[in-house]
Amino acid sequence: MAGIELKNISKVYGGSVVAVDDISLEIKDGEFMIFLGPSGCGKSTTLRMIGGLESISKGDLLIGGKRMNDVDPADRDIAIVFQNYALYPHMTVAGNLGFGLKLRGVDRGEIERRIKAISSMMGIEALLERKPAQLSGGQRQRVALGRALVREPQAFLLDEPLSNLDAKLRAAMRTELIKLHHKVGTTIIHVTHDQIEAMTMGQRICIMKDGHIIQVGAPLDVYRNPANTFVAGFLASPPMNLVTGRLEGNGGGDLHALAGAARLPIPEAFRAGYAGHSGAAVTVGLRPEDFHLAPLAGRSVPVAVRTVAVELLGPEVILVAELGGAGGPEIQARMPRDFLARPGAELTLHYDLTQIHLFDGQSGTALARPQIA
């Protein structure tokens, strides 16, 4: 087992296309780290550089404290699970599991013992003589994971391994991967564009965009304190409502954010941090789950909204409404499952002010304030 350290790593294609731009990150030994970001953000490229499938244009990669930039993938003692499984199509499941060991000259008895152990752990004993074409997506995924596990590597690199599975299977495999990590305790880097996977699986999330790391932190931490509007709009579903507004008032009790026609007083805890930005254009971040039907003692403020649409999801209702009345900016709010409203209906919701986020109106960076724990 080993920690992985990226020091100022860049990937440049053809001398000009920068896929990954000077990123630094330390992944602790035994950590479950998620690389999260939209397509083309450089997360897979970063993973492939760690795995040795892409060369590193600049910077240093350390695995277990040793520089690995020019080490062959086979000698980095890592295993990669690919998005489309990349099983050897002409080999049986047993052949797929044992191929790496065979190449490493592990003796036959040992290979068989390990294949047996891993296949029973992954629940694929009955499939050992089958070819990949005869397996379902979930079974292939298990074989691919088994092939990674059987080598007992220092770290697992998972490149969107769940994205080809259907929703139900994906949820099941999520749980299984978490259990697996508890069991083997090996460092795992999991690349995904699915924010649910990111929130539920990882110990830390590294959010990437355009080849840069935007924010690194524990899932709830990132959710509660997004570093900028990109993270705020990317995590959670539905994501944070981002409303163009203005911060007004002097430093005292009348400091408030204007979001459309809604006036949102800044709670005392945040005043010191936000006061310096009074008069500036800001983006106000309001999470859908922070709108309530009843007032919260001492920390909420009533806001008028006009119903646009109501989405019945079953466990909850998503209310799409115009903030501050007709013509106001459109927001989404999470309502309890028995909530009902006609389009056009005027309502009063209560917004939990302790959860308010303000971002710089130009750069989108979160304005400094105490972290929400």
């Binding site: 795995g51 050897y88 080999m91």
Partner: protein, 299 residues
């Protein structure tokens, strides 16, 4: 209700099928006239004593022509020579073709240029190829011997030496047909998935192990189909022989297609030549049927 709907759709199906046959009928008729009729006619002829001196079907001889053909040492020689020629040509073209295809598969720039150059020989008529090479290989006036002479190698009688002639034909055939192998194998190689190779790299396979354990098994079907197609075509080789050697010197390059031609139009024994072509056709049909069944078994 359900039953009636079923019947209605069956009637519609039948109507569709009849209409389909009606549409295909003209081309089927033409195909019958130009392909099936000559084949049946050859079969009929092969059962009679039919020569160009006595062109009639008066004497039914049963399988006598087949017996005569199989008993003919020259026919057996040319059949055996053809088998060796075909195996030699196909194997050499495969080895060269696969090698070049593997190299070209790694090439990233100017790929279309390589393709265009490779396809040039394929676009040429075999007769032209034969004529050009006969000129190149002329013992006294050919450029090949001239070039060999400049580095001190004495002239070779490429097409006149009984030991060398068949190899010369094989080399010219390779020059002409190897691109076919390259193009097919290259198409196969470039459609292979990349991921198993990456998985193998992580698993610790070197280039040779990747080739043996990944490329060859994944290319298996492409390789078999390519070999079979080329095999079938090589069995029919005729034009090159006709232009370059006329089966000679002696019978050193007397491939079976050319021998059949000689039997029919030099010896004027149409009956026996027909029997030989039926034998050849049977062999090619057997190969084709195997190829067809193999390709169907893949789906």
């Amino acid at each position: 209700m359900m039953v009636r709907m079923g019947q209605a759709s069956n009637a519609a199906d039948r109507r569709d099928r009849r209409f389909g046959y009606a549409l295909a009928a003209p081309s089927l008729t033409v195909l019958f006239l130009i392909i099936l009729f000559p084949v049946l006619s050859a079969l009929f002829t092969s059962l009679h004593e039919y020569t160009l001196i006595a062109p009639n079907f008066d004497t039914f001889t049963g399988l006598a022509n087949f017996k005569a053909a199989l008993g003919d040492a020259e026919f057996r020689h040319s059949a055996w020579l053809t088998l060796r020629f075909v195996i030699g040509v196909v194997l050499l073209e495969f080895v060269i073709g696969f090698g070049v295809a593997l190299m070209l598969n790694k090439v990233e720039r100017f790929k279309p240029v390589y393709y265009a150059i490779l396809l040039c020989p394929l676009l040429m008529n075999p007769v032209i190829v034969g004529l050009i090479w006969r000129m190149f290989l002329h013992p006294n006036l050919g450029i090949v011997n001239y070039l060999l002479g400049t580095i001190g190698i004495s002239p070779v009688n490429w097409l006149g030496d009984t030991k060398i002639a068949i190899w010369t034909v094989i080399l010219v055939d390779i020059w002409h047909q190897v691109s076919f192998m390259i193009v097919l194998l290259l198409a196969g190689l470039s459609s292979l998935p990349k991921e198993p190779y990456e998985a193998a790299r992580v698993d610790g396979a070197n280039a040779f192990q990747c080739f043996v354990h990944i490329t060859l098994p994944m290319m298996r079907t492409v390789i078999i189909v390519t070999l079979l197609i080329r095999f079938i075509f090589a069995v029919k080789t005729y034009d090159l022989i006709y232009i370059m050697t006329r089966g000679g010197p002696g019978v050193a390059t007397d491939l079976v297609s050319y021998f059949i031609y000689r039997t029919a139009f030099v010896s004027l024994n149409i009956g026996e030549a027909s029997a030989m072509s039926i034998l050849l056709l049977t062999a090619i049909l057997a190969l084709t049927a195997y190829l067809y069944r193999y390709m169907r078994s893949l789906n």
